[in-house]
């Protein structure tokens, strides 16, 4: 895995979420692509061992941003004090931008790549609408960040996690208005979007699976897909992380 040092330009912490911005002059990230990140040079510490994958949340030509939910050791280190990260080029296949209109549907920290996607769509003048789930259990800080990051989004408050996808889809309404639906959210949301929309419009889902190499070498990031009638495993890091919904075998 090819990694390079990048200066951290800012860290904003909102409750359990972190918005991390670093200087980036490498390849231009495409919406839905991800990067592999370590907090410190490998020579200093062999543990935590692996790089962590994160969607590219935003990019302005000079810096890239990640939206990170702090979960374990890797993400806690990212939230720490170090002045640099070690980061890969943008990796994987992102969303396929057609002519729109596009519905962007998401929830949780997984809304991250929808920012870069909506920016790119806006840049190309492609009409799109954003529908983001805000669970009632989410801390207030989360709602505040999301409405600041996505000022034009339709924020859908949800109570019961089991019924949240349904409620989100109800707000999206008639799917035939769109030429594509791009979703990045909890698995239940992805599954619901797939079920509801797959036969009407082009549905693209951003999935994630544990990764080690992120270059197709390890076969660790297996995602079940249909392949010529049979069920097989694709590698999320190179065939995804964005997949056409009908390809996914779940």
């Amino acid at each position: 895995m090819r990694l390079q040092r990048a200066e951290i330009l800012s860290r904003e912490r909102f409750g359990n979420h972190l918005l991390l911005r670093y200087r980036w002059n490498g390849c231009i990230p495409q919406p839905g692509q991800f990067v592999m990140v370590r907090t410190r040079s490998f020579a200093a510490a062999l543990d935590p061992f692996l790089c962590r994958p994160f969607f590219v949340h935003d990019y302005d030509g000079e810096s890239a941003a990640l939206l990170v939910e702090i979960r374990g050791r890797g993400t806690s280190l990212l939230a720490g004090e170090e002045e640099e990260v070690v980061v890969s080029e943008p990796l994987g296949r992102g969303f396929d931008i057609g002519n729109g209109p596009v519905a962007l549907v998401g929830g949780g920290v997984w809304v991250s790549p929808l920012k870069l996607l909506s920016r790119r769509l806006a840049g190309r003048g492609i009409p799109h609408e954003l529908y983001l789930e805000i669970p009632s259990t989410a801390p207030e800080a989360y709602g505040d960040v999301i409405s600041r990051i996505f000022p034009d989004a339709d924020l859908v408050p949800t109570d019961d996690p089991e019924r949240a996808p349904e409620k989100l889809l109800a707000r999206v309404g008639d799917l035939s208005r769109y030429s594509a639906v791009c979703a990045s959210g909890p698995l239940s949301t992805l599954a619901a979007v797939k079920r509801a929309a797959c036969e009407q419009v082009c549905v693209q889902l951003a999935v994630r699976e544990r990764m080690a190499c992120a270059n197709g070498s390890c076969h660790g990031c297996a995602v079940p897909v249909w392949d010529g009638g049979g069920r097989t495993y694709a590698r999320a890091c190179i065939s995804g992380p964005v997949f056409l919904a009908e390809v996914l075998a779940w």
């Binding site: 895995m1 090819r2 490998f42 270059n215 660790g220 097989t232």
Partner: protein, 284 residues
């Protein structure tokens, strides 16, 4: 060279000019879809994996073989469920001029023996290696062994005709998730965590066999590669280390070491000094 199963075609760009050979993921007689996810868990200074030998099967692999040709010798890692399958794989590769050598992945379960691995008994190792030797008379044959039983299995492999020994494969391990209270993953441990164990295996084995030993396990830096060669390895494989570092950087560090110490790579294996030469080391 890469360790089997840790360098995909898609990443060959990173290793051009770095490795001395290409070693694709283990190939089995029939295609294998591999295990359902999760397949990976992070461990302290390491990784636990349970990929399930996902591969397209020998026939399809050979159809695509040209994709593996980047001007380096191709060593093909093979695994069968039975001795006969191993031998058939070798026979199939014997006539394939693009294949430089064959590595037997002997750490996989042996279905004829109730699912314990071939490495569980030196007798089985002898049988497989001998059968493969017969099937593959004209190409170098490497036996890749687990840490458990390495010494006896190494002697058995050498006697049965292996031209080199690769040590070690992953070590059987488990990840438990206290949060969900579930077994998270049963798999094999790799990475720096196993390096001291792999070094020991290479050291003990290389002292008793006369065939070359290829060191493998936890190499993440040039000095790690040096350590393996000092311990007795004639070549080194990089696996998990390639996931978190660029192989080219590792090679560069290795070259810097050689330059700084005025040594040649091929002399490293015999460049180990005896311990008691220095008092200072003892008392530090």
């Amino acid at each position: 060279m890469p360790a089997a199963g840790t360098l995909g075609r898609e990443a060959f760009g990173e290793v051009k000019g770095v490795y001395g050979a290409i070693l694709p993921k283990t190939v089995t007689p029939k295609p294998r879809a591999g295990n359902p996810p999760p397949r990976l868990a992070e461990a302290p200074a390491g990784i636990i994996n349970s990929i399930g030998l996902q591969n397209p099967g020998i026939e399809r692999f050979l159809e695509d073989l040209d994709d593996y040709d980047i001007g380096l010798p191709i060593i093909v890692s093979v695994a069968g469920d039975t001795v006969a399958e191993f031998a058939e794989l070798c026979a199939r590769l014997a006539g394939e001029s693009r294949v430089a050598a064959v590595e037997l992945n002997l750490s996989c379960p042996n279905t004829e023996r109730g699912g314990t691995t071939f490495c569980a008994r030196a007798e089985t190792i002898s049988e497989v290696v001998a059968a493969c030797r017969t099937a593959l008379p004209d190409k170098p044959l490497f036996a890749k062994l687990a840490n458990e039983g390495a010494l006896n299995n190494a002697l058995a492999s050498e006697e049965a005709g292996a031209d080199a020994l690769t040590l070690i494969n992953t070590i059987s391990a488990l990840a438990v998730d206290p949060h969900t209270r579930r077994i998270f993953l049963k798999g094999g441990l790799s990475g720096p965590a196993i390096k001291p164990v792999a070094l020991r295996a290479v050291y003990e084995v290389s002292r008793v066999v006369s065939v070359p030993v290829i060191g493998c396990g936890g190499v993440t830096s040039g000095t790690d590669a040096v350590a393996f060669m000092l311990a007795g390895a004639s070549a080194v494989q990089v696996g998990s280390g390639g996931f978190v570092r660029e192989p080219g950087e590792i090679l560069e560090e290795f070259a810097v070491y050689l330059r700084d110490n005025e040594l040649k790579a091929q002399n490293l294996t015999s460049a180990l000094r005896s311990r008691d030469e220095s008092q200072e080391a003892m008392l530090y």
